[in-house]
């Protein structure tokens, strides 16, 4: 199962580093950027931004563990941007496009620090989330709700989440709650995300 998740994540990153970023840049403006325009450079910058993890604390059965979360957005539909602009994004998502109102699919790993083997600390999650703008079209304040399916050391379950974001969506706080229990029943995440 771990291997399967890893393959999905790697495939997603591969797409993002090649076609995804380029497609976003082109649809972004319906532009005819010249051949010298730095699509690859933009993908590299974007991927560097994705490396930055979001710290979190997971509370489970009488334990609290520090963790790190990464995530990518394979697909997003924005309902906040101008009606004649292209509303779909894959991987590379401008903060305004996300925070002004959107629905996204997300996936990614989390690593929860523990005393067992390295592989046992990985939590894999796939889910859907919707953002709603509150102030300045979401750039100053926005909220989200979502749900996800996750696996941690063989324990699978669903989770529900809510979040609040500010500073162009760069900083946020998310609470993820899984009614099925396990070692990560409640996760509090300081969400750091740049594109």
């Amino acid at each position: 199962m771990f291997g399967a998740w890893l393959k999905v994540f790697a495939a997603a990153l591969t797409i993002a580093l090649t076609d995804g970023a380029v497609a976003s840049a082109q649809s972004d403006a319906e532009q005819e950027e010249s051949a010298s325009d730095p699509a690859v450079r933009s993908a590299l910058l974007w991927s560097l931004a994705q490396i930055v993890p979001s710290p979190e604390v997971a509370y489970g059965e009488a334990t609290a563990r520090f963790g790190l979360r990464w995530q990518v957005t394979p697909l997003l539909y924005s309902f906040g941007i101008y009606r004649q602009a292209w509303r779909w994004r894959a991987f590379v998502v401008e903060p305004f496009v996300r925070q002004s109102g959107s629905v996204e699919l997300f996936l990614g790993p989390e690593y929860l620090v523990q005393g067992r083997g390295l592989a046992d600390g990985w939590l894999w999650r796939i889910g859907a989330r919707s953002y709603f703008p509150i102030i300045e079209r979401g750039e100053s304040l926005s909220v989200s709700v979502g749900t996800s399916y996750s696996e941690l050391a063989g324990h699978r379950g669903v989770a529900y989440e809510a979040g609040v974001y500010t500073l162009f969506g760069l900083v946020g706080a998310q609470i993820t709650w899984s009614p099925t229990g396990g070692e990560a029943t409640t996760i509090a995440t300081l969400r750091l995300r740049y594109f």
Binding site: P38, S42, W86, F96, I135, L141, T166, L167, L170
Partner: protein, 304 residues
């Protein structure tokens, strides 16, 4: 309350930058800017007039048409920086119908979402540079991209995008692929023409081409700050000297400076841009062609 919470969160998130900024916010008693005027828009005494609202925001009247540039009508830029001088005109006091809003680029002090919300139902059409539509909220007005050297005309009002030198994007890394999302504009109506430079560095070839195409500019709205540190600002912003050079290349009859005395940016001393421009204009003998307005001040450029 919600705005206060957002501001507090933003400040916490950008503690270093905002500490530096807040330390530099000038005491209102300090003569950072000249006392604001409180003029109101009118069109019965002029064929062409301007009212400087602050920063790059200018209400231009051309006959019976109203044009608003880079509307920044709120007290803060993206809830992370407070302006040092309030807008010279409240959104409610703007004309009921604004024929064209010109957005020069996508930075939050030029494409202000809170400001657009305030004027949504007054605006007929908003223009953004190439690539800009993705950053426009879904508001009631019509919005369209205007790539360089393309025009849109309606009711005799013609808006043409002209190239300038700045930086694209809104968030930093998007500048890498939004390489054309900044522009200037020339607006023409009933034989009058106005150049709006937005936020630009000095680029003689661009200005020369603009003059070739628009040889009889009545007015040029040109940015003059931030000035320092010059090595960094030179590629992004004109200083007063360069703005006067641009005026010479463009050949406009009158220049109204913009983009100063509104936000703390760079290392300029209080009032430096304004006073430097006045001094240099005197030195060059072009003071009669340079009209330095106070925020909120209206000036008739071409009388009725």
């Amino acid at each position: 309350m919600v705005r206060a919470l957002a501001l507090a969160s933003s400040l916490a998130g950008a503690a270093c930058a905002c500490t530096r900024l807040s330390n530099r916010v000038v005491d209102p008693a300090h003569p950072y800017f000249e006392p604001p005027a409180h003029d109101t828009p009118r069109s019965d005494d002029a064929l062409l007039s301007v009212l400087w609202i602050g920063h790059a925001t200018v209400l231009v009247q051309m006959g019976d048409k109203w044009i608003l540039t880079d509307p920044f009508l709120v007290d803060t830029m993206g809830e992370i920086q407070r302006r040092v001088s309030p807008p010279g005109l409240e959104a409610a006091c703007l004309p009921e119908k604004i024929d064209a809003v010109l957005v020069s680029h996508l930075h939050p002090d030029h494409l202000s979402y809170a400001s657009l919300d305030l004027i949504e139902h007054k605006v007929k059409r908003l223009f953004v540079p190439r690539g800009g539509l993705a950053y426009v909220p879904d508001l009631a007005f019509d919005a369209r991209e205007l790539p360089a050297w393309t025009s849109f005309e309606e009711g005799g009002l013609r808006v043409t995008a002209v190239p300038v030198q700045h930086v694209g994007g809104r968030y930093g890394i998007d500048a890498a692929w939004m390489t054309h999302s900044f522009t200037g504009y020339v607006v023409e109506y009933r034989g009058l023409s106005v150049f709006f430079g937005g936020d630009t560095a000095y680029d003689a070839p661009d200005f020369r081409r603009a003059r070739e195409r628009f040889p009889h500019l009545d007015l040029a709205l040109l940015p003059i700050a931030p000035i320092r540190p010059r090595d960094h600002m030179r590629t992004l912003h004109m200083d007063p000297d360069e703005a006067l050079d641009a005026l010479g290349v463009l050949g406009a009859r009158t220049m109204v400076p913009i983009h100063f005395d509104t936000l703390v940016a760079g290392k300029d001393s209080p009032g430096e841009a304004r006073e430097t421009l006045r001094a240099r204009a005197r030195d060059r003998g072009v003071a009669d062609h340079v009209d330095v307005l106070r925020i909120g001040e209206r000036r008739v450029i071409v009388p009725m």
